[in-house]
Symmetry: D2
Subunit: 351 residues, 4 copies
């Protein structure tokens, strides 16, 4: 940590800063520059120290030079984390695709969509039983009933299930059905919820908060990791910017950046990032070309009748086309699609 003094800071003010650093248990190291002095703080500093030091007289700013996340950082753990879900290895260099409806609506639609994405080669079935909805007047998901429909789809297709949990009180119930728990963008800094999913041993897919810097996103992962659950999958889903032509701005830069900074696998959600079904395929391919370990894609048997987010859902046909293109792209990039699980590789009709 570097304490930058004002240009007109007095000798006494600099000494006061040095003294305070030592009081707080760190070593101080002053440097006299041409324009201004700075004081380096040596030791295992913590983020709050910025506030402690920046209020002192004569201080201009305080700058951190260390990463605030540790467990999520490649500096601490240089080896890629591979998250295992049954036979699936997420983050292993093979592309994993999670697909399905945004919301669980009717059993009929969910099963049809599940069958369709399985046939097209998806590895995991997604579906929301609990939905965060901006308006209280919107459909909020079927809850427990939705989980039962997902369980049935899992039995029918053999696909593992990813579904969102919103409330720390629902974590146990969701774990009964889910193979991967999803933390949504709006809960990107819901710390009680992050802690709760940190205490279980199921994989957690952590969506980036739409307002979160890469650092804050990795710190959110740190909240989960620090409770003991090391099976964290990151998911870029678009950030909020001034551009309104798309629902969010997919931050493709973040994919290679996070792969470099962190050892955790990174998945991309091209559906929420764009909000428009016709942008899903190109942005999905882009995410993979940038280094994503896989995709989370909305597919609906009948987007006309989707209870939420129909505008960004692919039809099964469009999804099959995406998988086809992904196959070619993955080969060209040396990161092919993950092989299907045995029961999945079997003819779908027979399952």
């Amino acid at each position: 940590m570097i304490v930058v003094m004002q240009t007109d800071a007095t000798e006494a003010q600099i000494l006061r800063v040095q003294k305070r650093i030592r009081e707080l248990g760190f070593k101080d190291h002053p440097i006299r520059g041409v324009e201004r002095s700075v004081v380096a703080v040596l030791g295992q500093v913590f983020p709050e120290l910025v506030d402690e030091l920046s209020v002192l007289d004569g201080v201009d700013t305080v700058i951190r030079v260390s990463r605030s996340y540790k467990l999520a950082s490649r500096e601490v753990n240089p080896y890629d984390t591979v998250v295992r879900v049954g036979g699936l290895e997420i983050g292993s260099g093979k592309l994993v695709v999670m697909a399905g409806q945004c919301s669980v609506d009717t059993e009929e639609y969910v099963l049809a969509t599940a069958q369709a994405v399985r046939e097209a080669g998806a590895h995991v079935l997604r579906g929301g039983a609990f939905k965060p909805r901006t308006s209280p007047h919107s459909f909020e998901g079927h809850g427990q009933k939705g989980l039962k429909i997902l369980a049935k789809a899992k039995t029918k297709t053999g696909l593992p299930i990813i579904t969102e949990v919103l409330d720390p009180r629902d974590v146990d119930a969701v774990c009964q059905t889910a193979d991967i728990l999803q933390i949504g963008s709006r809960n990107g800094q819901n710390f009680p919820l992050l802690k709760e999913v940190g205490r279980i041993d199921k994989p957690v897919l952590l969506k980036r908060g739409m307002w979160a810097t890469v650092e804050e996103w990795l710190l959110a992962a740190e909240h989960i990791l620090s409770q003991g659950n090391r099976n964290v999958i990151l998911c870029e889903r678009g950030i909020r910017t001034f551009e309104t032509a798309t629902r969010f701005t997919f931050d493709v830069n973040a994919i290679p950046l996070v792969k470099r900074e962190s050892h955790l696998p990174v998945i991309a959600d091209p559906s929420h990032s764009t909000g428009r079904w016709y942008l899903v395929e190109p942005v999905a391919l882009a995410a993979v070309a940038a280094g994503a370990d896989g995709l989370l894609v909305e597919v609906h048997q009948s987007p006309d009748h989707a209870l939420s987010d129909g505008a960004q859902s692919l039809t099964p046909d469009n999804f099959a086309r995406l998988m086809e293109r992904l196959r070619g792209l993955g080969e060209a990039l040396g990161r092919p699609l993950h092989p299907l699980a045995e029961q999945q590789a079997a003819p779908a009709k027979a399952s």
Copy 2:
């Protein structure tokens, strides 16, 4: 709701849109323009309808023309909501100031700060027992112990207490001590938490999510209101923008806009909005000049030793100066400071 067709939409596509609108239980009203046709949707529409209709062939975009919030809207309730806390009336045209430490640290500091803000004329004591912290390695508040310290400060000073609740499971416990529950910016779309505080009858101060549009903020209020709790106070606390010279960008435009769109009282938090103590006073005055019903300000007896956000806390002296300036400004604007409660108006030493 207006369905805008593509310029090359066919007659059949327009008819299909009209049919779908009727299937969904609404009336359709097509208009043929020079460049393109649009179809108006008549009836009590809901936001999801945008998705339902925008996936149809030939549709360019779907535009909402109604507010998505109702209970929070002045269109539904034109009269100012006044939230009562003991003898205080928030939103009544008299300025209310809530002040105190960001985090509850030691009993000694909390009591000293409480005494100081009371003497300077604050109406409510703020203090965080449960703190949302970006990093799991940061101080997260004293929890229950913190609530006890706040209760003691309340007894000592007679000031009502505002404190944050993070977890839906803590709402009852926090209600034991708090006179106003605070929902923090990071929980601006934590819907289980919003619902939970919607079921109680204590006033709730709802901070704007740092990523939330004014519409989403009012929809978050709608989540609380729709559960039955009508005592909602809005709090502008800065949004996230590209500017990094300040911690957030205080959205002063939002103050008069929300006062116009909604009947709920609006409070401003100049401390988190700026992140720098020397910007707190000018931004506080600006917020009041723009129409805010009051302020939420961080004050700490000894900012050097604050466990969080020291850099943005005022000293008691600076706070007293702010109150002084606020007094003059309020008079000039015709919105004076709210009178102090009786026990508060009594000499502080005697309390």
Copy 3:
């Protein structure tokens, strides 16, 4: 400047960085931290050095600790700059109001509006002869003809004129009529234009680029100052954020921040910042409460017929009401309205 090394940087890499710093003519000062080493660079550094050093092997990031602007900085010049326009002193602690139409349209309207703002107490007449328009299919201003109309309004009312210049080739022509040249937001980093107005001796009002950080805004001022023209007035006019309920987000934090960082006067434009006439008054008052030295406000005799930006123009009546409220606010804040010039103080009808 501080070069932060990667945690696994080798001794050789650190030495290479030190050597490069010396090659570039600076002094190096290495510090070994617990987690990582940093190397301080001592001397009169320049921004490009960041790039030079950050490409070296083993370097994590390079952090500047000095302001990149000098002439605009209070560190270099601690005394408030006062810009003089005739008898007006902008930045002297007395509020100055510039008002008028966004675009010069008809002579009739311009003169009527000029008369009206003069009577209400405005100090400067604004009006755009050259207009930057987002669409080439929009009205782009009357150019030379518009300047003549402004000249006539100046003669009639005695008010000095502020008008925008867009093209470096028009600077001389605009100087014939204008008392203050305005650089618009879209030209906030149009360096040839900034240089050109740096070579004249007329005051320049520099609007903040809607994308510009405070630092970049002050650097744009630096471009003008470094050519010799010290009469720069800064103007906050809103930045672009995710919020679309208002046209831009007025960055009220920037007002006291810039007053602290720079010695230049700061004016606020509440019209473009909000885009809605009913937000202009509250945001204008807020800007002044935050410390602005004055206002730039759109007023139109008949907003129904304004050729541009009618939605954000005040009627003369609303403007008169704003001036009235400003008078009270200025008194309360100890920063009263600037006295009117003699010819202006005379009865308007007689002029």
Copy 4:
């Protein structure tokens, strides 16, 4: 255009809006909804009409339903524009790569870099003679001398040249050397400059303003197109967001969106978008996977000594690796690299 009335608008107010629409030469079409009325405006509307109508009493908002750009729109011209530069066809489905130094520094470096990018398979040489620099204290390019160095590099390598023009007064001089003129991000709404390059017949590469919505970017193109120059190439180069871990946020969504909305070719600049050389390759591949027609990449023989933007320049080796990966990716996507021109295909040493 749709005029949305307030919920409590009176019959008289609605009639006044209808009358005003007719006065302005359009047809009015009122629709009475359940909550509120709207009035459709029929005819060839223009953007300013929003302002004209939104000031009328009883109006809530005015919504445009037409694109504000015409010449740039696929609705007007459905066929892909192919921009020709010698034998190169940009926008033809074959990938075109423009590479070279950010700034022209020494002749020696420019020639070495030019040779290197030619050998690696680049189609166009980039290099800045006039540089927009945030600080007046930074290197601003060699100007005319830089153009001469570029001319020499062109003779030596046979590569066409792309270089930036900043000042409308320099357009003719730059045309002497340049095969493609570049308009930089900071000039994305510099209308005199856009007009000036609209009057020439050389191709113009128009970078997106870092603050510009897709609509504003296409309107900037419209400024050029409307002057007669139809050879416009769009270039996505990152937008400004709250994320500071990268220099800008590359808006990958914009690539397929603009390809859908407009017939103009779209190029991507992964160097400025990221600001970090190690992110250039993954983001370049992502841009191409998303549908970009080509790339604009910074390469420097010796990034250690680049006069600007060294941190984001590739070494010739890294650039050769990118070209190699691009070759494979282009084949997989069915959009291969554009064949090299004859003189370029010849052995480089012999040229």
